[in-house]
Amino acid sequence: MIESKLDLYIDGLGVNFSGFQAVSNFSMVVAHGEMRVLLGANGAGKTTLMDMICGKTQSTEGKVFLGEQEITNKPPHVIARLGIGRKFQIPSVFKELTVLQNLSVAAMKQVSVFANLGSMKRQIHMDRLAEVMELTNLNKKADHVAGTLSHGETQWLELAMLIIRNPKVILLDEPTAGMTADETLKTSRIMNDLKGRHTIIVVEHDMAFVREIADKITVMHQGKFLAEGRISEIEKNQAVKDAYLGSGGIA
């Protein structure tokens, strides 16, 4: 390891889907507490990269470290237990359970079947639950069935489920997709609140949102690393301009 205060270290990661190289030789170092934005056109491989980090897709080359520990291609639930939380592009929550139940499941400290045969009350901190619901604007929805929530609320619920587990690293795939302007604004508030408490990697297209939250940006292009730097640097970067030329720049 190069630095001691880094949370996520990706070294030459890549995947080949039976002939199609979706991501190749990608490296990135994310420091503790950093908010990193991942940019790239559709199909650049951002989702696939996150899939490899959290164990959803098996990488075919390279390594991933969480702090000192290698987590390359471990089973998803093991990676999750080690401290990586993942939010999906298509929001996924437990539709037949209430908001409170969704969060209770996420808040459970024990993960094994036998350890969880006990009653519900003993293990869940209601204070923490209330705090997270407040943060994600869900405090009035505690008893609503998750399947009845609006799209934006569903996104927040999934976010809340990650936050309540208090993972070291949070991976967010397009958290504002399909949100109204107002909801996007609320989401950026949530993100800024999380800043510094978790190491966060977020895929996002909305440049106003990116300006609002980002520390540092990494740009992917056709499965490869293209550029990295502060937002002003990225906007000036020639390689980025060239790559985005067809689509009229990143903003």
């Binding site: 939380g85 539709k95 037949e96 139940q101 499941v105 993960v111 079947v113 045969l117």
Partner: protein, 383 residues
């Protein structure tokens, strides 16, 4: 009065009714009702697996059958006919009929598999195996299915194939299992010298208390943290995995619990009916169980339990009348289709809805009362 109060009330009414029935029924009906209660236990097992774990098992009969045969083997060896074959160890009559002319007449070697019966001379062994074997089957099957992430209709196909395979094996090994005839002419279940006469009130209470215990334990299990996690896995397996839960372990565990309940039901059925038959592993029986749960409400264990009891009761009284003998299966099938189409949560779903309305109306009334009071107070204050 809240929703959970009404739920508790439903359980209490059910339990009290079950315990009071011997006051109203004669021996014949007690025995019959005991069998229906056992089917109720199967309803609980199906509800747990289908409603709460999202596993539509079309081969629940394999666990029921395994439980029944395991205790059945012990009771067969304990029967007078087996004991009076003039040999040192008891030998089932069908083994004698199927024996080769020069076979050694002993349980160890009358045929190539008969040694498997030796430990069943102990009824305790049969009793333990009646739970252990279904659990073992479920564990083996579940570990493969769930760790491979197989889900939905494929699980149904695999379990369906498994029960058919098991039925085939039982029927084909006549010398070992009694084949088509199954195990008949069984001894009574005996504990510390007390014999459980299938037509006695004691046997009825054995079954009734077993059902109540299973019902309450399952309820407890569902209300536990694991129970909630199980339901979350049913809703979205991936979300649960990426929160750190080993979905396969949860599914396998509850699949085994469901198998244990079915095995327990199987052993109780042998005690009350005095036979074990390959029909327990008929496809129609396993599917009937699913219909019980669907009609009663698969997402409610009490609903599924009552569904099983009510439908099997209705079925046996209806099929006694000439008119319905042939058509009962068709009627049952039609019920299933209608329920699936028009009331996905079954009778329990309807009861649930009614309770909700009732609670809401009560809350309304309370609010209005309080409002009225408040208004009167302000009026009083003004005057």
């Amino acid at each position: 009065m809240t929703h959970s109060h009404l739920k508790i009330m439903a359980y209490v009414i059910f339990i009290v009714t079950v315990l009071m029935l011997p006051l109203a029924l004669d021996e014949f009906w007690l025995n019959r009702t005991a069998k229906y209660l056992i089917f109720g236990m199967l309803g609980v097992a199906v509800s747990l697996s289908w409603g709460y774990a999202g596993i539509l098992n079309l081969g629940q009969g394999m666990f029921f059958g395994a439980g029944a045969y395991m205790l059945g083997m012990s009771l067969k060896l304990a029967s007078p006919t087996s004991l009076e074959q003039g040999t040192e160890s008891p030998i089932p009559d069908f083994m004698m009929w199927n024996a080769e002319p020069n076979a050694v007449i002993d349980l160890c070697c009358i045929n190539s598999g008969s040694f498997l019966w030796i430990p069943f001379q102990s009824q305790t062994f049969g009793l333990i195996m009646a739970i252990a074997l279904p659990v073992l089957f479920a564990w083996a099957l579940g570990s493969i299915i769930f760790s491979k992430g197989i889900s939905g209709v494929f699980i149904s196909i695999i379990t369906l194939a498994s029960v058919l395979l098991m039925r085939l094996l039982v029927v084909d090994n006549q010398a070992l299992t009694g084949g088509f005839n199954g195990l008949t002419d069984l001894a009574w279940f005996t504990v510390f010298g007390y014999e459980f006469d299938p037509y006695s009130v004691t046997t009825y209470y054995l079954v009734a208390c077993s059902l109540i215990v299973v019902l309450l334990l399952t309820r407890l299990l569902i209300n536990s943290r694991s129970g909630l996690i199980l339901q979350s896995i049913r809703d979205d397996q991936n979300r649960a995995k990426y929160l750190g839960f080993d979905a396969a372990a949860y599914q396998t565990f509850f699949f085994c619990v469901s198998a244990a309940i079915s095995g327990f039901a199987g052993l109780l059925y042998v005690i009350t009916s005095e036979f074990a038959s390959p029909t327990f592993m008929d496809l129609t029986f396993s599917i009937t169980m699913v219909i019980w749960a669907a009609v009663g409400g698969r997402a409610s264990i009490l609903g599924a339990c009552i569904g099983a009891i009510a439908i099997s009761m209705l079925g046996s009284s209806v099929s006694e009348s000439e008119l319905f003998v042939e058509s009962w299966q068709a009627i049952l099938g039609l019920c299933f289709v209608l329920v699936v189409l028009f009331m996905p949560n079954g009778l329990a779903g309807i009861a649930h809805g009614l309770c909700k309305k009732f609670v809401a109306r009560q809350d309304d009334k309370k609010q209005r009362n309080e409002q009225n009071k408040a208004e009167e107070l302000t009026k009083g204050g003004a005057a």
